[in-house]
Amino acid sequence: MLIAIVVNRVAMALITLAGVAVVVFVLLRVVPGDPVAMMISPGAGPADIAALKAHYGLDAPLLTQFWIWIRGIVAGDFGTSITMHLYVTEVLASRLPATLELAILALLVAVALGGGIAVAGTLMRRTPGEAAIDGLNSIMLAVPDFIWALALVLVFAVALPVLPLTGRIDPDLAQGFATRFYLAESIVTGRFAVAGNILSHMAMPTLALALPLAAVIVRLLKQSLKEAMVQDYVLLARIKGFRELRLVLQEALRNAVGPTIALTGVQFTFLVGGTVIVERIFAYPGIGNLAIDAVINRDFPLIQGLVLLFGLIFILINIAVDLTVATLNPRLRHG
């Protein structure tokens, strides 16, 4: 039953998040290196440092700090960022939409690209074309998003300087937005020129994130499709006179797609993790880029908030995958 699955997953999720919270909290407090000392101007005395520490609650014992933090979370207060002097929730809310748009766009591109190539490879089975696809994909599987991002920088900075290399949108266009979902909003409100500009900025980070996932999809989906294509029901459909492409899409695909969806879900969490470095390379203003700064600056509350946010995203993705796989299997649904 679907509800049972959801409840089970949510319970596991909460336990996992709790574990994550504890780990990151302890880890940070074990740090050599004082965030307060980093913020204070040179020449300040120990009294000033102590005062600042008290202000951020960093002088209390570990357990007390943890308790205060948990209490805050339950009330919706994740603390104040030491470097940005804003509520952590505000900071996260302002940067999350950018990363969400990037990750989701990358997912769509990966699925379209990977799915298309997998279908093409299936139609070309037992021809040299398929061997070429396999060979190329084998290499693409080895290359992580980090390398793709830099390779794209190289190509588009030197050979084809047609796309912007940094940021999310041209600064002069960044007005009149009600939400931070710039891309979605500009499309929905019909401002296609603006949307085009955003897309040109997002093109390279999206591609860098999408290509590794596409390669994974190609390998698994093509294999699953080929296995489905030799089944009797496909043969019967072929005898009814359906074309090859129709057979792949209408008969084979729905039986082949289950494992791919599960794997895509897992790989999507890696994609989201990859935003940390890809956003950095393209100076894209999302939570990934924020995370690196937060760590370098030892911004405890922000780091804690970010880790919990990433953890939550990963868990939600896993739940979504479990649910999707369950709904797609008619046997599980209709018993």
Binding site: Q231, D232, Y233, V234, L235, L236, A237, R238, I239, K240, G241, F242, R243, Q250, E251, R254, N255, L328, P330, R331, H334
Partner: protein
């Protein structure tokens, strides 16, 4: 006498993997309009190869070396894939052997029955569903609406086979190939299915090529028979004639091996070794003759 619906002439095929071992040896048979023609033989005799050749799904390791499959005045073997696709489904249909694997587990029966109708006859979704409903009634399924909305795993083996039969007759094809349609079913269900096929065939005037290894089954439903052994036609004629007075030793051996429910049990007798030897010699002579004429 009108021209036969299906006319196979001197069909020969070899297995490329097996050192060009012959699979079919100049097989000829004809199925008239409205006739149920049985194609009988042991496994490996070549029956399914003939069926696959008609349907254009010969595996890559088999090669047709000679012969013609005449259907509606055209040689199916010489058709382009596009032309063959036009014929299939609309004029020729298949009732497959295993109902548990022949249906897509992830699609509802509705979709699987109507897709052919919508592709070949251009019916709308509603029209196709109505026709599917009517067909399910013809195959004596009591609750067609429920079955149409079901997935294959929710139906019994017998029901699935009825669905497949209904789907085969859905487009009013001129020829239906029934590939061992009762083999995967219980004995009690077999008789019903056979009667069903016969009644559908009579009502729609369809020709049927009934492939089977079971003489007993074939005897109940077929007008004419072709007996196949190692890819070569051993005997051909009307069912009554062949069964009453078989001329070929192989047919005699087959009949003897079939348990008869209406006679006291005489025990199964294996094909006598001298018959086997004679058959081998016959085949060898044939092959030599073929080789010599090249």
């Amino acid at each position: 006498m009108t021209a036969p619906r299906l006319a196979i002439e001197a069909l020969s095929a070899i297995s490329l993997r097996d050192g060009n071992r012959p699979i079919l040896r100049r097989v000829s048979l004809a199925v008239a309009t409205g006739e149920v023609h049985g194609l009988v033989g042991e496994s490996g005799a070549g029956k399914s190869t003939i069926a696959k050749a008609i349907l254009g799904i010969i595996p890559s390791q088999v090669k047709v070396t000679d012969g013609r499959i005449g259907f509606e005045g055209r040689d199916l073997l010489s058709l382009s894939p596009k032309d063959l696709r036009a014929v299939l489904g609309r004029d020729i249909a298949l009732v497959p052997q295993d109902p548990s694997t022949a249906l897509n587990p992830s699609r509802r029966i509705d979709a699987q029955m109507t897709n052919g109708l919508r592709l070949k006859r251009g019916l709308s979704a509603n029209q196709a569903r109505l026709r599917a409903h009517a067909l399910l009634e013809e195959v004596q399924i009591r609750d067609p609406e429920r079955v149409l909305d079901s997935y294959p795993h929710q139906l019994s083996g017998g029901m699935r086979q009825r669905v497949l039969i209904a789907a085969a007759f859905a487009l009013e094809p001129k020829l239906v190939i029934a590939d061992e349609p009762t083999t995967a079913l219980d004995v009690t269900v077999q008789k019903q299915i056979l009667r069903l096929i016969r009644s559908l065939q009579e009502r729609h005037g369809t020709s049927v090529l009934f492939v089977s290894h079971d003489l007993g089954v074939v005897a109940k439903i077929c007008d004419r028979l072709t007996v196949l052994y190692m890819g070569k036609v051993m005997e051909q004629g009307s069912t009554a004639d062949v069964l009453a007075g078989p001329r070929h030793p192989y047919t005699k051996a087959l009949l003897a091996a079939n348990p008869r429910y209406d006679r006291p049990d005489t025990g199964l007798e294996p094909t006598p070794p001298d018959v086997i030897a004679a058959l081998r010699a016959e085949i060898a002579a044939f092959d030599a003759g073929v080789a010599g004429s090249r």
